[in-house]
Amino acid sequence: MMTMWRRIIALTIKEFLALVKDRRSRTVLIVPPIIQLIIFGYAATFDLHDVPYAVYNEDRGVASRELLAAIEGSEAFRPVDYLEKDSQVAPIIDNKGATMVVHFGPEFTKDLLLKRPTELQVIVDGRDSNTALVVLGYLRSILIKFNEQWNIAHGERPPAARLNIRAWFNQNLESRWFIVPGVVGLLTLVVTTLVTALSVAREREAGTFDQLLVTPFRPVEILLGKTLPGLVIGVIEASIIILIAILWFNVPLRGSLAALYCGLFLFLLSTIGVGLAISSIAVTQQQGLLGAFLFIVPSIILSGFATPIANMPPLVQDITLINPMRYFLIILRSVFLEGANVSRLWPNYWPMALIGIINLTIASMLFRRRLY
């Protein structure tokens, strides 16, 4: 038993040296993930700022000016052009000069003053339909407020009921608070899968795998020697990223760290399992990379990282149940924003543990088959 552990530790140290000794591999493991976290933390947002819009105002009355001032006052929009005629509308949208054109008809103010309901026509570039929807949402809020004020100012009855909307866990609906914890999961996934998926293929290509086979190591020991470095690197990498998320991006960490690390450990086990399985199948590093990719990309897409799982078709939703990243993202976001503790996250721990055990078993079976 003792000698077994000593051997495993020796192998782990060797793996580490192989990764850390080369200055470039070392940099690749540390610098790009941090730069990416910073860039993505700023870039990955669904909140809109300064969306360019053009105004086509045939009215020029009081009411249209008042409504325009409200739109201009919003941080979400930035006026870029004032159009004079109908024919200018199509080109400015086509050429991406503006994302939105706000059009007031000639009778806008007159209709309003005569208490006739009127319309504000809005044309949005639907090539990016998510942005189009968010733009319309922002505009609708502005319009609801304008209508309310207009009614009050002109002695109309207020609406019978009013909505008081409050958001929990993220009062200002900042998408950064949603995305940054997700990036922690994303980068941990990418780094650990790559480290483990290429580890055996690299030895095989370099010819050192044969040398490993003539040593007294048993297959399990070799496997463990390849697992531990992935685990350690994953934990260190994730910790650094979590620190940056808290200190740099000021994402609140409301739950318990124990709950977070419990999730991280289980997540690492399941991804390392997949990485090693790929590694034992792949003969060349290119095959290993392809395998890693075929695992990483679906894991990200089907995890709820950027788009909600609830929007997927039912069959695809069922597939996400075998994706460890899905559970890890829920854990990350619950711990960061909702203040979750270990006991509340059980429903997310056990599936990951199960997936991890299955993956590692498959990996060790494939591994053993490769050896003999």
């Binding site: 409050r166 392809l290 089907l302």
Partner: protein
């Protein structure tokens, strides 16, 4: 006229001719070698065809921003005909899947357990407040963890509210005055299928991946296996070595592109409003950029492990996050907006979304193609400079 003696430079031309014939032969040889390598290790073919197939299927079905059947909890403290009509408005909406809770505590617990995303809470005095002069408050609580989704749901709830207000006013014999209503037109994608804008963007991401994965390892592999030295002692020039690597993978990549476009049009029903020729030209241009970026990584890394890491980190992730595929570039901080200009996928996403959904809008297409040409020239020059027939 035996001018060859009289005009020595003519002989030179002849020699040059034979030279270019030899060059062509060598290039063909190199390409054949690369082709054998591609055929014998099926992972390249896998990258070109399996990857787009799998990714488009997963992305196409998996990525959607259209929320529907949102589980929402409804708490009615004092049921009456008015509250009835309000909850009926939610049950009738295709966007919501309402659940009734007896009290607010239970509903709040359900939000914490992620069973519902939002609560609509009609308090005790709702019926009385409706009849009073001031507006009756309706409390709405939304789980804001997924901010974008929360905002979309907020919009849906507002929609239900406005419809109900009108109905309610009509039922009480009044006319609800909504001074200005919004008449919205969403061009190019009137039914706002998020798939229509996501699938063209996806093709750009997938092509980025294919381009980088195909070439990022090929030069590094030669260095690692020591066959680069063997290539160096042959008379082939560096340019031919690079071309010999680019051309076969270019053909493979275009095959992958054709597959992706076919899937987009026939499987996902994305309209292709622009011309096929423009699509073909822009794709070829983009593929050159993606392949030469892969080659650049490969020559710089000289080690497959590094090249693989660098390829993923410098191509796929930026293409996913910084290309405008999902996240709107205009909302990013200014320094990051500058940074997106060196992400080639950004231009291709813009071209693809325009060609698929809007048609041949030349100002958009030409501007983005020009950017791609500049990037191709820069990358190819860098690759050419960094590859030398020299051992270090």
């Amino acid at each position: 006229m035996n001018g060859n003696v009289k005009y020595p430079y003519l002989r030179r031309t002849e020699k040059q001719d034979s030279c270019s014939a030899v060059r062509l032969m060598r290039l063909r040889g190199l390409m054949r070698k690369e082709a054998y390598q591609i055929i014998r290790d099926p992972s390249s073919i896998g990258i070109a065809f399996l990857l787009p197939l799998v990714l488009l299927l997963i992305f196409g079905y998996g990525v959607s921003l259209d929320a529907k059947d949102v589980p929402v909890g409804i708490v009615v403290e004092n049921p009456s005909s008015q509250t009835e009509s309000f909850t009926a408005a939610f049950s009738g909406s295709p966007y919501f899947d309402p659940m009734t809770f007896g009290n607010i505590q239970d509903a709040e617990q359900a939000v914490k357990e992620r069973k519902i995303i939002a609560i609509v809470w009609l308090r005790e005095g709702f019926g009385r407040d409706l009849l009073s002069a001031s507006a009756a408050p309706i409390s709405v609580i939304i789980n804001g963890v997924d901010a974008n989704n929360a905002r979309i749901i907020e919009g849906y709830i507002q929609g239900v509210w406005v419809t109900w207000l009108e109905q309610y006013a009509a039922s009480t014999g009044q006319i609800q005055k909504i001074p200005v209503s919004l008449e919205q037109r969403i061009w190019y994608n009137p039914e706002v299928r998020s798939r229509n804008f996501l699938v063209p963007g996806l093709i750009a991401i997938i092509m980025t991946l294919i381009g980088a994965l195909l070439t990022s390892m090929v030069v590094a592999r030669e260095w690692e296996r020591g066959t680069m030295e063997a290539l160096m002692v042959t008379p082939v020039s560096v340019r031919d070595i690079l071309l010999g690597k680019l051309i076969p993978y270019f053909i493979l990549g275009m095959g992958g592109m054709a597959l992706s476009v076919a899937m987009a049009v026939w499987l996902f029903d994305v309209p292709l409003r622009g011309s096929f020729l423009v699509l073909f030209g822009a794709s070829a241009l983009f593929l050159v950029v993606a392949l030469s970026l892969g080659l650049l990584i490969s020559t710089a890394a000289k080690n497959q492990f590094l090249a693989g890491q660098a390829a993923i980190i410098s191509t796929f992730l930026p293409a996913f996050m910084l290309s405008g595929f999902i996240f709107y570039i205009g909302s990013m901080p200014i320094p990051i907006q500058w940074f997106t200009h060196i992400v080639a996928a950004r231009y291709f996403v813009s071209i693809l979304q325009t060609v698929f959904l809007a048609g041949n809008v030349w100002p958009v297409i030409l501007a983005n193609c020009a950017a791609l040409v500049i990037m191709a020239v820069i990358f190819l020059t860098l690759v050419r400079r960094r590859t030398r027939k020299r051992l270090e």
